[in-house]
């Protein structure tokens, strides 16, 4: 929390910031809940988002575990749990924090970094202020420089992500990076990572991944059993929930979706175009794109983003039960299937997207690029060529953390949906 005494004007600015941030989040949460067809068991996830972003209460964990802030998807949650910590993802989608961060980092930096720096300096969000340590994987230029800036403010650990993942030596390197992370975690939590604790945390996260696999299977259903925006809310909420709690709630959600499937309760019609979103992360409250897709009559059936399916779709497979074997399994799981454009050779992402298009029967892809997110922009052209071969339409939408571009985005997304509908008609 804030250490220095604020002047009356600073205090007023702070209050205005809190009110505005809370109001924007409440608005998006309302739009999210107003979307038809929300399962009853979605409520706990919505409550988490409300608690964090609207009430700004911080995570209500029934534990005194030290909070370890993480960014991106490369930090193994299992290691943090094994060290007795509670991971929490801090990548932010706040428009209000973005406007504060705009003055702190260069103009062309990506909005995600601006939002993080905004929250970090305003000291109003418990999820940031209560972190004992932040682990920043160096995945792009902005994260790299952000790590340098955060170091001046909080206990920050720069997590080096090798740029290549093809050879065995690359895997060895990430294993070494994980071993290097262990003492840093232990020094914060005061608890050692043992064979037993790591094995237990692998089981816990593994169970969550199993539930997530079930959830993803339900998402493939045609017509849809759950709205894509609701599914993204689940994924976003997972960032702020203890893993067992998340698994438990997701289990209940899966049960409800199973019942829906059995009794043929659907949230979309058969003729609704099935869309997929990929590219830069979509983080609450910046959910304008999924909301626009579904409000304009599309059905968001899949997402290939790091705040979506990418974070939990693949479990760690432990072949060798030794401690080193578990570490290797973690290194494998967090890099090999990862389709983050931080890796030089990311052909895998194209395969993954093609696979998802097939599995989810996707008819069109929306490629989301946050302004300044160059790595995703680079990959667009190749994906466009590949999807062209499959005759799957794709559009690139560039956006920022503000609401000024909503109407433009709406027109583009609406036109894209109409294009797909027209294509369907022509087929018939």
């Amino acid at each position: 929390m804030i250490n220095k005494k604020l002047t009356p004007s600073e205090e007023r600015q702070r209050q205005r910031f809190i009110e505005k941030s809370s109001r924007v989040s409440a608005k998006y949460l309302r739009r999210l809940t107003e979307l038809k067809g929300a399962p009853d068991t979605l409520k706990p996830f919505i409550d988490v988002l409300e608690n964090i972003y609207v009430n700004m209460d911080g995570p209500h964990f029934n534990t005194k575990k030290p909070l370890i802030g993480t960014y991106c998807v490369m930090v193994p949650q299992e290691l943090i749990y094994a060290a007795g910590g509670q991971p929490i993802k801090l990548c932010s989608g706040s428009y209000t924090a973005f406007s504060i961060g705009d003055d702190l980092v260069p103009r062309d930096a990506c909005p995600l970094i601006k939002a993080v720096m905004g929250y970090q300096t305003m000291c109003v969000m418990p999820i940031y202020d209560d972190c004992s340590m932040m682990i920043v994987p160096i995945t792009c230029d902005c994260k790299k420089k952000m790590a340098g800036m955060l170091k001046d403010l909080v206990n920050t650990y720069s997590f080096h992500i090798p740029t290549s993942k093809e050879d065995d030596t690359d895997l060895d390197q990430i294993v070494n990076e994980l071993y290097e992370l262990i003492p840093a975690l232990e020094s914060v939590t005061g608890q050692s990572i043992t064979h037993k604790s790591l094995s237990e945390s692998l089981d816990q996260v593994g169970f969550a991944q199993y539930q997530m696999t079930r959830f993803n299977e339900f998402k493939k259903n045609q017509p849809a059993l759950i709205k894509g925006t609701h599914a993204m809310a689940v994924m976003n909420a997972s960032s702020y929930m203890p893993i067992n709690d998340f698994s438990e709630k997701l289990y209940l959600l899966n049960q409800e979706l199973a019942k829906r499937k059995k009794s043929k309760v659907f949230v979309s019609q058969k003729k609704e175009p099935r869309l997929m979103v990929t590219g830069s992360p979509i983080i609450f409250p910046n959910i304008k794109i999924p909301l626009l897709i579904e409000e304009m009559g599309g059905s968001l059936v899949a997402d290939e983003t790091c705040m979506g399916e990418r974070s939990l779709y693949d479990p760690a497979v432990v072949v060798d039960q030794s401690f080193d074997g578990m570490m290797r399994a973690l290194a494998n799981r967090y890099t090999r299937p990862c389709t983050c454009p931080t890796f030089v050779n990311n052909d895998q992402r194209i395969f993954r997207i093609k696979q998802m298009i097939k599995d989810h029967q996707v008819e069109g892809v929306i490629y989301h690029v946050l302004r300044g997110c160059l790595v995703y922009d680079f990959e667009y052209q190749m994906l466009e060529e590949e999807l062209g071969k499959l005759n799957v339409p794709i559009i690139r939408v560039e956006s920022d953390y503000n609401e000024e571009d909503i109407e433009q985005l709406r027109i583009r997304i609406e036109a894209f949906i109409e294009l797909i509908k027209l294509k369907d008609l022509q087929k018939k």
Binding site: P106, I138, L374
Partner: protein
Amino acid sequence: MIQTDDKKFASYQTEYLDTLKKLMQESIASNELHYFYNVIYSYLKPEQMLNHKPEIIIMGTGIPEELIYAAGSKPFYILGGSQGAVNWSDDVVPRDTDPVSRSMLGFLLNESFNLAEKALIICPITCDSNRKMAWLLKSSGKNVVTVDIPPDKSDPLAGIKWTQEMKKLSKKISDHTKKRITKKSLMAATKQINKTRKLMAEFISLCEELGPTFKGSTRMAVLNAYYYSSDPRAYSMHLKNLNLELIEKIRTQTTQSYVKPSVLLMGSPVFLPNYKIPFLVEDIGMHIEATLDTTIQKIYSASKKEHQDIDIFTAVIFSQLRYDCSTAYSKNEMLYQSASWQIRKNKINGVIFHVLKGQIEYDFELERLEKLFGEASIPVFRLETDYQYQDVEQLRIRMEAFMEMLTQNQYRTNKAAV
């Protein structure tokens, strides 16, 4: 075969010929300078580019070249710097890609040049553009080896990571050149390069002594020619002769009554042929006293004695890591220290912080540096541009205002002294 008067090469040719012409017109009378201009001309002219079939290509300056010489080869540097080459890569990169990367890709993916036909391209991953450029080059069938840069120099294991990367790279270079890097060959290469670097350091110090008589842009071009030279020994020899000429000039130089405001040019690298910024600075009457980019501290590393007790491979690679002033790191203390050193030298009146559009890492460093220069009462002027020439007049107006401010400051200081 493409013709040199082909439309495709028109803007490329115009740019480098104009730059060379201006350099030649405005530099002091010197026989030796022609050698360096010839080196630049030979490197850039399209007929020559068509014939170049380098064995090893280095993108940027972030790799210790000693390793390549030790493997019996010569590095061919691709540094960007050409607006003409930027135009060739427009279709393959996103809109916000920085001009240096665009230009590099233009050189390497230009089918007419086919520079990378037989080459091993070494691409240090210093930024996002390099990361994705390496992918584009690989996808188009080029032989690319990437080098990971440890992002945090203060990490106790950064040295180990860097050593591993350099060992991997050395092996790749040896496999490609089919010549083993031995202690002896590395020692010989280091000796030769250090000799050249010492001459470069001497050249910089002579230029400082000469002051505005020897233009900053000429100094930059001579130093840039090192990277475009195909014969490092000849480069050293001619630099030695140039230094002797400069010593003679210093001896005979009379004291100048008018002193131009001196600036430090730092930030995004300025490479030939795009000398838009140095020319503009000088056109309006300022003197580029010093430059601070990724190449400059490497020059001074040759005179340091700190690595004498370790093996030659470790000494070479650690020298690169330590003196690297690039923004490839989350926080680069070397860049900061180099800027402090420039302040201590007490010769600059202002700083021009050059940011090429899309090179966001430099912008992140600016705040800290602005504070540093602010404490020394040295004004900093941030200038954002790309390789195009359309914004020259706007930049000129802004820069003139900056110069007027520096002149006023100088006047006030002189008055106070009286």
